[in-house]
């Protein structure tokens, strides 16, 4: 058993680090400050095929495996969680097409997304349906060759800049009134109004939108999978992408830890670098343990997904919850080590702290992840 990344992945990590240092690092603080989507960075990610990573090679991607994707996202998130969300969001929005799309649908949608020419987003959450996916109120009614979609989606990452949305809605049988949760690939057009939701605590520069579907007509051939497959598809998507949220969290934690270590070496108080004080050493040791444990759990979860292991869902839930809790802990302690400087915007750890919080919330709150984990232990019926 070998717990080291193989050479190919180490090489990829180095390549992404080079890209991040050249393109992202000089812009990270500015993106946070300006809170504007960094189109220049998105272009660089497309040019260097980071945006192609979620996609199979036959559709212009680089393979679509989760472990390389997690490694790339971690490297980006060390410097900017906002930028790391660009490939994560592209993946989240497109997985439903990859998993449930027909060959025709894949040929139609995926190459443009893999090249980065088009962006996509995942439309699951609603004002009254967050963790309770089944409580969703959006509807789709078949009318001839089209579905008519009505409803509101909220907190949709990149909802305003995306060209293609994977949207969940309940198909209502006009005769029986039966509702079947279903998934659609929706190209923006008439009947869809998008409103920006800004002023978030963190991950600035990653626009979040509210989507209003008002009798939007979507061709029948845009249904992904069968009517009623929606819940299964939504969960399968999250099984895959939770490891990527975990990777963002590890990146944030490592970025903050690296900064805290450097500061502990340089900052002198009472005549010594503060790293010589055990109070600081204990903190750094705990931060390192949590970050490393999160990293290995995430790599295992990603690898299990790529190998289609039966327990991949549980592992991605564990990785997501553990890594995001670790990131929150590590960034909080990093601020404490930096003291007043840590609380100031002059140093990046307060940004990392703000960026860490959302990792515990989106793509399934950590409470929901714990339910997934516990149910995997207790079995059906709990």
């Amino acid at each position: 058993m070998n717990f080291e990344l193989d050479k190919e992945l180490l090489f990829l990590k180095e390549m992404v680090r080079d890209l991040v240092q050249e393109k992202v690092a000089p812009r990270a603080a500015e993106i946070d400050e300006q809170d504007e989507f960094p189109w220049d960075i998105k272009e660089a990610l497309a040019e260097h095929e980071i945006l192609a990573m979620p996609f199979p090679e036959e559709y212009g991607g680089t393979g679509g495996k989760v472990l390389p994707m997690a490694i790339a996202i971690e490297e980006i998130a060390k410097v900017s969680a906002s930028v790391a969300m660009i490939p994560s969001g592209q993946c989240l929005g497109s997985v439903a097409i990859i998993l449930a799309g027909t060959e025709e649908q894949k040929q139609r949608f995926l190459p443009g997304l893999a090249s980065g020419e088009k962006m996509c987003a995942y439309g699951l959450t609603e004002p009254n349906a967050g963790s309770d996916v089944g409580g969703m109120q959006s509807t789709a009614v078949l009318d001839g060759d089209e579905y008519i979609i009505n409803g509101t989606k909220r907190f949709i990452t990149f909802g305003n800049i995306a060209d293609i949305l994977t949207v969940f809605a309940k198909v209502v049988d006009k005769n029986t009134g039966e509702k079947k949760l279903s998934c659609f690939a929706v190209e923006k057009g008439e009947g869809l109004v998008v409103r920006n939701l800004e002023h978030k605590l963190g991950v600035k520069g990653t626009p979040t939108a509210e989507l209003f579907f008002d009798n939007m007509r979507v061709p029948k051939e845009n249904l992904l999978g069968a009517e009623g497959d929606g819940f299964k598809i939504a969960m399968q998507v999250l099984d895959k992408t939770r490891s990527e949220v975990a990777a963002q969290a590890i990146g944030i934690a490592q970025g903050a830890l690296d900064y805290a270590v450097q500061y502990a070496r340089d900052r002198v108080q009472f005549g010594s670098p503060i790293g010589k004080f055990q109070a600081i050493q204990m903190k750094l040791a705990d931060m390192e343990m949590k970050t490393q444990a999160a990293r290995y759990l995430t790599y295992v979860a990603a690898d299990k997904y790529d190998r289609k292991a039966h327990d991949r869902g549980k592992y991605s839930a564990m990785a997501k919850a553990f890594a995001s809790d670790a990131a929150m802990y590590v960034t909080t302690e990093a601020i404490q080590i930096l003291g007043g400087y840590g609380y100031s915007k002059e140093y990046p750890v307060e940004r990392m702290f703000r960026d860490a919080k959302i990792q515990q919330i989106y793509e399934g709150t950590n409470e929901i992840q714990r339910i997934v984990i516990a149910r995997s232990l207790l079995g059906r019926g709990f």
Partner: protein, 256 residues
């Protein structure tokens, strides 16, 4: 046009001093657990080669390094930015090699490959010897151009832009020749793409065996210099008195 680019793997020059280890009696710094990278001027040479290839139909770029198997990582980095071939001249390196020996090995590889143009970085980022490129030109009997920042195809051959203290000069020449490359904003090595990076690990690295020749300058000892800084404040009421006291003190210390 066969373009050969010489690449050297070195300890990362960004390595913090606390991580730089040299055991007593050892002739090379410890390389275990520390990052090894492509020497920075060699990166510029590789970029010059890649840009020239893009302007010359049929041109190929072959990356060559001298060293043990682990040195192949720099060749893979070259393959990741789409060098056509990668060649290692095997050599177990137990201490610093003189520039002459390395130049001899690279000359052997250039002959074997049938190279028309050889590009080298102006100096390696570890020893800063700055000898290999021009000795290599001498070994091959080819003209050598120094401090080159870029090469363009010209009507009669190659046009080389070379850096001077103030400004630059333009040289024209025909292959075969050796160009020793220095850094410039136009020759920063491009960053690879994901697919090429992953594919680089699966590509073949060829080997060319060349026997080391020539006189060898033996490295007799190697140590990290111990720096001692003492600060002494020279007393005095005014500048004249301070200068007088400083003069006396320097005489005492036998500095003057």
């Amino acid at each position: 046009m066969q373009i050969m680019v010489c690449l050297k793997q070195i300890l990362d020059p960004e390595l913090p001093p606390r991580d730089f280890r040299l055991e007593k009696g050892e002739m090379t710094p410890a390389a275990e657990g520390v990052p090894l990278v492509m020497s920075s001027f060699d990166q510029n040479a590789l970029e010059v080669g890649l840009q020239l290839r893009e302007k010359m139909a049929g041109a190929t770029v072959t990356a060559v390094t001298v060293g043990p198997e682990g040195a192949e990582d720099v060749l893979r980095k070259a393959l990741a930015v789409k060098a056509d071939r990668a060649v290692r001249v095997p050599l177990e390196q137990d201490s610093k090699l003189s520039g002459g020996i390395v130049a001899g090995l690279l000359a052997g590889a250039a002959r074997e490959l049938g190279a028309d143009l050889v590009l080298c970085g102006r100096q390696a980022g570890d020893w800063d010897g700055g000898q290999v490129g021009l000795i290599l030109a001498e070994e091959l009997g080819w003209p050598g151009a120094n401090l080159v920042t870029g090469i363009e195809p010209g009507s009669g051959g190659l046009v080389l832009k070379c850096e001077l203290d103030e400004g630059y000069e333009v040289l024209e020449g025909n292959a075969p020749l050796v160009a020793v490359v220095t850094n410039h904003e136009t020759n920063v090595l491009r960053i690879a793409k994901v697919k090429d990076t992953m594919a680089a690990m699966r590509k073949k690295v060829e080997q060319i065996n060349v026997a080391p020749q020539g006189g060898r300058l033996e490295l007799a000892s190697l140590e990290i210099p111990v720096k001692e800084v003492n600060c002494e404040i020279i007393p005095g009421e005014d500048g004249v008195e301070k200068a007088d006291n400083l003069f006396k003190r320097l005489l005492e210390l036998k500095v003057l």
